[in-house]
Point group: C2
Chain length 422, copies 2
Amino acid sequence: MNRDELEQLQLEQLQSTLNRAYKNVPFYKKQFDLLGIDTSTLSSVQQIKDLPFTTRQDLANNYPYDLFAVPLRDIVRISPSAGTTAKPLVVGYTKGDLKARNTVTARFLAAGGVVDTDIVQICLNPGLSSWGRALKEGAENIGASVMPMTHMSTSKQLMAMKDYRTSVLLTTPSYAMHILEVIKDTNIETSNLALKAILVLGGPLDPDWRNRLERVLDISLTAGYGLSDVTAPGIGFECHEKNGLHISEDYFMLEIIDPGTGDVCLPGKYGEVVLTTLTARAFPLIRFRTGDLASIKDDLCPCGRSFVRISEITGHTGEVLTIAGVKVHPAQIEHILKTVSGKTPPRFLIRLYKENFLDMVEIWLEITETIFSDEVKLVENSLKHLRRQVFQMLGLEVSIRLVEASTIEQHDLPSGGVIDDR
Amino acid sequence: MNRDELEQLQLEQLQSTLNRAYKNVPFYKKQFDLLGIDTSTLSSVQQIKDLPFTTRQDLANNYPYDLFAVPLRDIVRISPSAGTTAKPLVVGYTKGDLKARNTVTARFLAAGGVVDTDIVQICLNPGLSSWGRALKEGAENIGASVMPMTHMSTSKQLMAMKDYRTSVLLTTPSYAMHILEVIKDTNIETSNLALKAILVLGGPLDPDWRNRLERVLDISLTAGYGLSDVTAPGIGFECHEKNGLHISEDYFMLEIIDPGTGDVCLPGKYGEVVLTTLTARAFPLIRFRTGDLASIKDDLCPCGRSFVRISEITGHTGEVLTIAGVKVHPAQIEHILKTVSGKTPPRFLIRLYKENFLDMVEIWLEITETIFSDEVKLVENSLKHLRRQVFQMLGLEVSIRLVEASTIEQHDLPSGGVIDDR
C-alpha cells in the first residue's frame, strides 16, 4: 500500500469512526457540538488536528460504559485493568475488534520472526494479563505453539524454556535482562536453549541491553509498542531494520504533539504520542493522548513498509510512570495512602531504581503522627497493610521507607514527586 | 443419550485412546507390554480396571514431552503450571483438544445458567490462570460478554461487578464468601448488583456457604469440578437439582477406587477419583489418579441427564493439599526450604486456617542453626527470601513462624505434616 492509498483508507475509516462516535457516544457528541465540528465535512486526514483530544481523565470520567459505542450485547470481552486513576480503566471489544487486535498483534509477532513452527513463551507479570491474552491470541493466529502467561518463578520459566525448546520469548526489556542474569546464576548453557528471537514491549529498551541479549543468547531482538490499558500490544513494531517502530496506520492514526500547546510536531521533534482508532467498533478513541513521548522518523525505511516509524518511547508526559510495564500515576499511591490512613496522607516521594534489571519501587513516607501510632507493632501492621494494598491495586511489590521530613525536603519535590534512579 | 449408547461411545473412544497411547507414548507401551495387555482385545468398558494407573509422579518422571501423543507441530497450546512436584506440570493441547475443552467448560457454564446475554466476570488468583483461560474461552463459546481474570483488589473487582452489571461470577467457593464479606464492609447494596448466578470450582463448598450466598445475594450457586494442573474445569458440573456433580462421561471415563488397594469402589463408598481421557489427542491420560476423594451417587437424577454423578470432593488422598484452589504437596515446601538454605532443611509443619473465608498458610519452622544465623538481620532476610520463593513457586502468600522444637513435637506429626484448621 503506498501512502496515497493509505491516506485514502485512513480518511474513509476516520469518517466512519467520527460518525459513529458522534452518533453513539454522548461524550463525543457534546464535545463536537461545543466546538461546532461537523463530522460529515471531513475531507482530508490532516483535518484531524481540529478535533478535540481524549485524555485518561476522560476515560475515568466516563466510567463505566459511557464511551462504548455499541450496545452491551455486542461486546464479547470487557477488559478492566488497574488503570492510572482511582477507577479501573475498561476496554470493550466486539468480536470484530478482537479479530482486528489479533491481526495487529500477529503483525508485530511476524515482523519479529514468529512463524507457525515456533514455540512461543509469554513471560509477563500478572498486571499485564490483558497483553498476555492478546499476545497468546496473536501467536495462535499465526499457528505457533503457545505457552501462555503462567505464574511461575523465573527459574521454572527457564526450566520450561530449556525443556520445551522455546524458540521465541515474549516479555518486557527488563525481564529479558533479568532472565539473562538468572541464566548466568544457574549455569544454564545458552547453547542448550532453542531460542532464536525475543520480542519485547512495555518499557524502554537500552541499546546496550539489545546488544548484550543478541550477543549472549545468539538471538534477534525486536521491540513493539502498545498501550496496556487502552488497546493492543503491537500498535507499533520494529521490522528487521530495527530502526524505529512502524505504526500500524491502517488501524491507528498517529500524531506527535507538543504536550504543552497541543500543536502537531514536525518529524524529528519529540512530543506526545496521540492515537486515533480507525477500526474500533466498541471503544473508539479520538486523538487519545497516550502520555508517551517519541518523535517521528520520516526517512523511508529500507524494509519497504510505508507505515511511518516513531523512535523508541523516550519518556512520559506529566506524571505517569511506567513501572515494570504497568502505567502508574502518583495520585494512585496517594489514593491508597488516603484509604489506609483514613485521613490526610503523609507527604511521600516515590523512588524508582533497578535491581538485577528489574524495576524496584520504594515509597518514602514522612514520619508523622497523623497516620502512624508510635507503637512499633501498629506501625508494622500499617506498613504491611499499605504494601499489600499497593500490590493489590497496582500489582507492584513496593518497599516502604519511613523518613524524616528533612529527607523529603532535601529533594525539593512536591509530595508524590518521583526520584527516578533507573 | 441413554447409558447403552454412552457405553458404546465410551468403548469406541477408549479403544482408540489406548491404541494411540500404545503407539505414540513409550511410557504406556512399556507399561502395557509389561502387564501383557493387548489393547486391541478390549471388548467392554469394564475391562478398564485391568489397565495400569497413571500418577502425578508419572507425569513428573515423563517431563517434559514424553507423555505427548502427537508431534510438537500439532500442539497449539503448552500450558505449564507450578505443579505438585519440583518440576512444572505441563499439559499440551491440539486445536481439537482446545475445542473439546471449550465444549466441556461451556457445558458446566450452561448448566449453571450462563446464556449469551450474560456478563461473566472471572475472579481467580494468578496461580489458576489456566482455568481462567478455559473459563473465558468456554464463556465466549456461549457468546457471553466476558470480563477475564484481572489482577485487581477485591474492592475493584466489586466496583467492576456493580458498574458493569455482571450477571454471572466465576470463582472459588472461599473467594465467593470473601466477596460477601467485602460487600458487607463496603456497604454495597446487594440490590444494586445485577448478579443472578455464581459458579464455583476449585475447593470444598460448605452447604452453609451455599445457603448464605444464595440467600444474601439472591443468586443461584452451582459447583463444578476440574483439575487445575491436568485437564479442564467443568469435568464435572452440578445441574439445577444441585445434588452432586455430573461427570462429562463422553469426554472422561470415571472410576472411584480404594486408594489403598486400587479396587473399584461401589456406589456410595468414598474413594479416589480416577479419570481416563476419551478424546484427548495431545495428552491422553489413562486411569489418572487425581488424589481427590468422592463417592458415586447411583440414583437417577431428576434432571434427566444420564451422566453419572459424584458427591462433592470431600478430601484428598496422601498429602496433596488444595489451598485456594491450587494443589500443593508438602514436598514442594521442603524443596523450596532446601533451595533457600542450601542444605538439610529444618523440620517444619504447615498450618492451614481461614481468615475472612480465605485460605491462609502458616509455615512453622523449627529454630535451628543449620539455616538461620543468629543475627536478626540475616534471619529476617532469610524469611523474606523464603516467603518470596514460596509465592513465586506456588502463587501463595504464606507467613512464616519460627517455633521451638517442642512446639513441633507436641503435634506429633512428621516434618512436612499438615495442621488443617480450616
